[in-house]
């Protein structure tokens, strides 16, 4: 929808997901302990260009889950920008923005997600929390597969999940630049918050530097590479025997690719993150903790308005050695496969049906999950 002679553009969507099965056991847990397969999300975005040089973008999302975990409202984007070079696709932006990192993060829900579940890289909560630590390798290993909901001895203990590899739904406040040419696009930003923990309240003044370069060497082929580094841990409680030096840093690298032709679109990306662990006065955890994620996704259009899609994701967690056990991944490696159908009976409506299977064999708790889900999206 447009107003003011096309200088204000408003778009949005309403998405409702319904999933079968009982408690998810953290496979699909998201922020605010919500089940991401049972969300209602309302998104509204507006972009305005009141002047040839200046523009503004706002993207606000509200989401709630059926399991009664409440609603949240968050700005995915709230920024102003300037295009100082007339005729050139170059801009300086400031405000709340998504971290320029990797590819699929922008396609995380609603119309832009070919299935119902989210890619593991952008959602699965690990047992590493931003504001608390278990205190030893053995207790961290015992927390594998819990999504960060177990007992953590040190730090402030808030009721939230562990860190995903990349939090695509969070926001960071800072400044950035973006430039685009015929075959290349580059974006860089310096912002508060980190890749996996955008809402790092009181994080000791940390700033994250991130950037992405995307090339389009052939029609239909997109290749991207990304990097980000910044402090991810929240300030500890003054009552806890907490970290003694510096703000633990998170460093992440990613490569992504997309190829499309005819009725096919295939995408893949690999992300690796290394998180330093704060030095404690008591027993220490090994540092850094590594996690590597891969996501492969494909979509084929069967008929006008009808497509089939499939996704494969896996997370590998780096080995640590406890006193009681030998070297093991610090969290349970997890695999997810999902397949489904999407159908648009009319243009602004998208209906999806999907089936998802998750497994993580090396945990004490639930090791697998079968799930069927449907999603309805209305967009404008």
């Amino acid at each position: 929808m447009t107003w003011f002679d096309g200088r204000l553009v408003v778009s949005g969507s309403v998405s409702t997901s319904v999933a079968g099965g009982g408690k998810d056991s953290s496979f699909n847990a998201g922020d605010y302990d919500q089940d991401t397969m049972r969300l209602v999300e309302v998104a509204v975005a507006a972009s305005a260009a009141p002047h040839p040089v200046a523009f503004m973008v706002a993207d606000v999302r509200a989401a709630g889950s059926y399991d009664g975990s409440g609603w949240y409202l968050r700005p995915a984007t709230l920024l102003v920008g300037v295009r100082p070079l007339p005729g050139r696709a170059f801009a300086v932006i400031a405000g709340v923005m998504q971290t320029p990192f990797a590819g699929s993060g922008r396609r995380y829900y609603g119309r832009d997600n070919v299935l119902v579940g989210l890619p593991l890289i952008y959602q699965y909560p690990s047992s590493l929390r931003p504001e608390a630590l278990t205190g030893s390798a053995d207790t961290l290993l015992a927390a594998r597969g819990t999504g960060g909901t177990g007992y953590y001895r040190y730090g402030r203990y808030r009721a939230r999940s562990g860190l995903p590899l990349v939090d695509a739904r969070g926001w960071n406040a800072g400044v950035g630049v973006t430039a685009e040419g015929a075959r290349l696009r580059a974006t860089a930003a310096v912002a508060r918050g980190s890749l996996s923990n955008p809402l790092s309240r009181g994080d000791g003044g940390g700033w994250q530097v991130s950037g992405r370069v995307e090339g389009r060497p052939l029609l239909g082929l997109v290749l991207g590479t990304s990097a980000a580094r910044g402090p991810y841990a929240d300030d500890p409680s003054p009552d806890a025997p907490a970290w003694t030096a510096g703000a633990p840093m998170e460093t992440a690298f990613g490569v992504d690719a997309e190829y499309s032709r005819g009725y096919w679109v295939v995408r893949g990306e690999v992300v690796q993150s290394r998180r330093e662990i704060a030095t404690l006065r008591g027993p220490s955890l090994p540092s850094p903790l590594r996690v590597t994620g891969i996501d492969l996704e494909g979509r084929y259009r069967l008929a006008p308005g009808l497509y089939a899609a499939a996704r494969l994701g896996r997370l590998w967690f780096g080995p640590i050695r406890g006193e009681a056990v030998g070297a093991q991944p610090w969290d349970a490696d997890v695999t997810r496969v999902e397949g489904g159908i999407g159908w648009s009976p009319t243009r602004p409506v998208l209906l999806k049906v999907a089936y998802q299977y998750n497994w993580r064999p090396d945990v004490m708790g639930p090791r697998s999950l079968h799930r069927a889900a449907t999603q309805a999206v209305i967009w404008f």
Partner: protein
């Protein structure tokens, strides 16, 4: 002058007059005029900057379709004709087509990027997939109706294809003018349609061999 010669001359003159009268009575005319759109729809355009779409100077769609609600005759079967709707600068050109059933529409891609032309409209759903610049795919439209055309990649791209089972239709030009020719004399209901948001119907009488002026003001 001998009487026989005089009778022959009168007969020739009478036949000539009768033929002339008949020719004038059936001579087709035309309907022409203008469609003024007071508040044209702004087509959203934007630049993708770092994943954010930023509006830029909008284009305005002014094309209107003028067609006979009560045509003097309808097409017998499907015509064989070809027209083009190009993809250029992330826009469909022209924005509106009016064709007769049986017409094939080519969709050449003039841009350096992919487009994915599709429609979910009942008269003719189709999906052409993604194809490269310089290539073209075609769709034949056989059923009357309005077909909405979109691009699956660039959501701001849209167009209309009106399919008629008769030939009495036209799309206005850049000045908002139109002409429908070879119209048999008679009285007709004519409609001007704009973007699915405005239309107006008027009655026009076409005299033999004459051009009837019919103007519309919409929105």
């Amino acid at each position: 002058m001998p009487r026989a010669l005089l009778d022959a001359l009168v007969l020739v003159l009478a036949l000539t007059a009768a033929l002339a009268a008949h020719a004038t009575q059936g001579a087709p005319g035309s309907v022409r005029g203008s469609v003024v759109v007071r508040s044209p729809v702004a087509a959203p355009t934007g630049d993708l900057l770092g994943g954010t779409t930023v509006p830029r100077a909008p284009r305005h769609h002014r094309e209107a379709v003028v067609f006979f609600e009560t045509p003097p005759d309808r097409v017998d079967g499907l015509v064989e004709a070809r027209v083009a709707m190009r993809q250029r600068d992330a826009t469909f050109l022209p924005h509106v087509l009016a064709v007769t059933a049986g017409t094939t529409v080519e969709f050449p891609n003039d841009d350096e990027t992919y487009h994915n032309v599709f429609s979910l409209s009942k008269p003719r759903p189709f999906d052409l997939g993604r194809y490269a610049a310089g290539r073209s795919k075609a769709v034949r439209f056989e059923r009357p109706g309005i077909v909405r055309v979109f691009c699956d990649i660039h959501t701001q791209m849209n167009a209309f294809i009106h399919v008629f089972d008769h030939r009495f239709h036209a799309v206005t030009d850049a000045e908002g003018r139109y002409e429908i020719d070879r119209v048999p004399p008679g009285t007709y209901r004519v409609t001007a349609w704009y973007e699915g948001v405005a239309q107006e119907t008027k009655v026009v009488t076409v005299a033999p061999g004459a051009a009837a002026e019919l103007n519309f003001a919409l929105r």
